[in-house]
Amino acid sequence: MIKTTSWSRRSFNLVNYTLLILLSALCFLPIVHVLALSLSSKIQVTAGNVLFWPRDFTWASYEYVASQGQFFRSMGITLERVALGTVINLGLTLLCAYPLSKERRDFRFRSAYVWYFVITILFGGGLIPWYLTIKNLELLNSIWALVLPGAVPVFNIILLLNFFRRLPKEMNESARIDGAGDWRILFSIYVPLSMPSLATITLFTVVGHWNSWFDGLLLMNNPDRYPLSSYLQTVITMPDLSKFTDPETARVFNRISDRTTRAAQVFVGMLPILLVYPFLQRYFIHGIVLGSVKE
């Protein structure tokens, strides 16, 4: 009896482990394949000889990507955007989450404010009114167009305010008796206590700004001003040549839409995330659990 159970258990384990390995491979191998393509010669790639290891190893595609002046210009704009956007998002998240985490008796207008925030996730004006608003504020083509429209991350505020609400109330009260004001309580007690959640939110914010491409495409009239993701969007997916009236630019964009170069661009675009990912995933998991399980 015991023997048969353990046999069926063992065969289940075999199937289970195989399935999970396949599933992981499905998520991981396409990336390895693209890396191998980007480091192989065009001839080998066209012949279909490249699987998960480069053939005729060459840096040529990366040299080509780096030879585009726009690549570094866009990288600069992205870095600026990530830095500025993260500071603004994080600052506003803290400033909004603290008062909204209070009980009604400590802050009479809490529910009015909460509704003011929540309505924005339930209903929106839509793409065109949003675009026209930013246009009318004369933000088009400036770095502020990339950071200000999304300055208030309502979901992160909800995440953090739920965390704040679970901190012991006595701490707040005793600090108040000792004469600390709201600002002091927020920055000297709440912030140090919520470091893990803040780390999670920061990481999500940085990744979000790094990945964001549509706003750059829409709000920057001039491709010179594209952040990296928007630039990669135009060169990786079908380049819309009509946008580039200058024939020289059009020719360059045309030439680089070939497989090895595209592979190199894709890989460069995800490299920063791949590099930090192994260290961060602990925090990400923490963050999700924090956001989804609450009483």
């Binding site: 289970n16 999970l20 394949h33 699987l51 004006g125 009114p129 909800i158 595209r262």
Partner: protein, 298 residues
């Protein structure tokens, strides 16, 4: 008394002020901008001098020959994604839950969670290569002696390419949410079941699944709000005119009408149509989540 209370609370208002201002500028002002969907809006004339046309723009949309098809594509693609994103992560979480080796478990989690952090620009770049006629997937299909498939250019395959690749990107994230729910199940239940002679399968059926039920209900109700969100980022980066028939969705149509054809009013009207339905769906889903899963967003 009133003044004292007011002074005590003043810091709260000051803290909230910048957030309130930004939301006003970038969320509430665009809501007022909806009025252009009842106008024949010209940027040169602005909001106040453009001619009012009533529901003209809406009539125009509903009479567009493509409208019904686009609406159907949207609902079909979004619903299929919702269903797959419910089934796949639950099964993955159950399988992972049976793994005893911690290192293996963590490695799998790390790997399946990775695509979630890459943008659709990057993933589209990967898919366009991997799924192309000369790509690695078609090499394998041909290796098995079958006809190669044009996943991104064939109207029969394209919606399923969208559905499956979206599941591929998202399922790791949802799996981790379900796994977290699994760790919350009281281990004494399993011990009791073992004493009663329940097999692993019976334990899964009668302890694990019921233990996950609240979070499953929660995820399902919350996803109902997404029935009109078929995934703009994904479709925009993967589609092309030959597959508009099966892959064009409301969001991409809004984009094309508004920002390629510059019919601002028509596009805004279509956007309003979507916003209103989404508003109803999201409100209902939150109300249901509150009722059935005791979930409150704040």
């Amino acid at each position: 008394m009133f003044n004292k209370k007011w002074r005590q609370e003043s810091a709260n208002h000051i803290m909230l002020l910048p957030g309130v201002l930004f939301l006003f500028l970038f969320c509430y002002v665009p809501m007022f901008g909806i009025i252009i969907s009842f106008q024949k809006y010209y940027p040169t004339k602005g909001f106040f001098k453009s001619e009012w046309v009533g529901l003209e723009n809406f009539r125009y949309i509903f009479e567009l020959p493509d409208f019904n098809r686009v609406l159907w594509n949207t609902v079909f693609i979004a619903s299929a994604k919702i269903i797959l994103l419910l089934i796949v992560p639950i099964i993955t979480a159950l399988l992972l839950n049976e793994v005893r080796n911690v290192l293996f478990k963590r490695s799998v989690q790390t790997l399946i969670y990775l695509p979630y952090f890459l943008s659709w620009v990057i993933l589209a770049g990967i898919l366009m290569d991997v799924l192309s006629l000369k790509g690695i997937v078609n090499q394998m299909i041909e290796g098995l002696g079958m006809q190669s498939i044009f996943f991104l250019g064939n109207n029969n395959w394209f919606p399923w390419t969208l559905i499956v690749s979206d599941t591929w990107k998202q399922f790791g994230f949802d799996t981790i949410i379900y796994l977290a729910a699994l760790t919350g199940i009281n281990p004494t239940l399993y011990e009791a079941a073992v004493i009663d002679g329940a097999s692993r399968w019976k334990q899964t059926l009668h302890i694990t699944l019921p233990g996950m039920a609240p979070i499953i209900v929660l995820m399902l109700t919350l996803s109902l709000g997404n029935v009109l969100n078929a995934g703009f980022d994904q479709v925009f980066n993967l589609y092309s005119p030959p597959v508009f028939e099966s892959g064009d969705i409301i969001d991409t149509m809004i984009y094309r009408i508004g920002l390629q054809d510059y019919q601002f009013s028509v596009s805004a009207a279509l956007g309003l149509f979507k916003s209103i339905i989404s508003f109803v769906l999201v409100s209902v889903s939150y109300a249901m989540a509150y009722r059935f899963a005791n979930y409150r967003i704040f």
